[in-house]
Amino acid sequence: MQAAKIILFTLLAASAATAVTYLNPADAEYGDVVMNEFSDDAGMRPVVFPHWFHRIRFRCKVCHGDLGFAFKAGGNGINMLKIIDGEYCGACHDGNVAWSIENCDLCHSGMPNTPTQVHNSTSQKLVAPVAPGSVTQPDAGSED
């Protein structure tokens, strides 16, 4: 029985390792944002924000207008203090509109060490990525 347990445990560990090895960030849903400005440093998993889940329930304007989210991953300086004060995520994640903040793992569910980025974005999927600022613009208005 002991031997069976050891075999079982070894198999389980091996398959878990296999599953983790072949996890590929390219399988992330289009528009999924990982936010890791402060999380890793604070010993928390990074936050995964699924755009798809939220746009089913709210129009873009609600967060990107009324709640003040800039159109930039990691560009908002969101921290837990702002959230408990009802800013940003805290406007809904208050236990009333959406789950409240003590459900840490539901947002902080990312793989540790995943950098802040929008997943499956066009620029992320380019074979040879372009560096920001590398495109020079001709005179404004020449194309109209």
Binding site: V130, V135, D144
Partner: protein, 198 residues
């Protein structure tokens, strides 16, 4: 349930998990071993809309990950498309598949929709771009785009595909959240001849 049956069920579950992992590993190894396989850079349809536990950015060992909704479950009743989330979000909005709120607190708030098309004549051989304010104002407020991203004046905005690819202008949303730039004809939709006749 007897403890024996419980054990059998547990062993069965483990065996299934192991088999699934091995199968995934075999498929991966096969793709790696054959350099001339078809569509080597494309993701097969069966691997789209992966559940959080296998999407590569969620931690499968986190308790929270197991509680999250899977995209396929949410997308099942919605209109489909060929890219992005493989959901046609505008059609889903139009046909009532989704009814997202326009206010954080008022479910009955109605969007202020502006039905005005802007035609941009493009330099190359591609059809002209028809920009519909209607579909955009169903999701967004005027102030989301004007004046920071687009100056609200004809001829005042320099737009190129290069800047869009870099995430500027239309690329602030298209290529990140809104349908990706691979859907050329959803924007480049007006043939040049039609423009000449007007």
């Amino acid at each position: 349930m007897t403890s024996l049956a419980k054990k059998a069920g547990f062993v069965g579950f483990i065996a299934l998990f192991v088999a699934a992992s091995m199968f995934a590993a075999m498929r991966y190894a096969e793709a790696q071993s054959n350099p001339n396989s078809f569509n080597r850079l494309l993701k097969p349809a069966s691997e789209r809309n992966a559940p959080p536990a296998t999407d590569g950015i969620h931690d499968p060992t986190s308790d929270g990950t197991a509680l999250l909704q899977t995209p396929l479950e949410a997308f099942d009743p919605l209109a489909k498309s060929n890219s992005g989330n493989y959901v046609n979000w505008n059609q889903a909005l139009d046909d009532g598949g989704i009814a997202p709120w326009y206010s954080v607190s008022n479910p009955n708030a109605a969007p202020i929709v502006l039905d005005m098309n802007i035609v941009r004549e493009v330099k190359g051989s591609m059809p002209n771009v028809v920009y519909p304010h209607k579909q955009h104002t169903e999701w967004l407020d005027c102030a989301n785009c004007h004046p920071a991203i687009f100056i609200p004046m004809k001829g005042a905005n320099q737009i190129s595909m290069a800047s869009i690819l870099l995430g500027e202008k239309c690329g602030v949303c298209h290529g990140k959240v809104a349908f990706p730039v691979s859907e050329c004809r959803r924007c480049h939709s007006q043939p040049k001849e039609a423009a000449a006749r007007q």
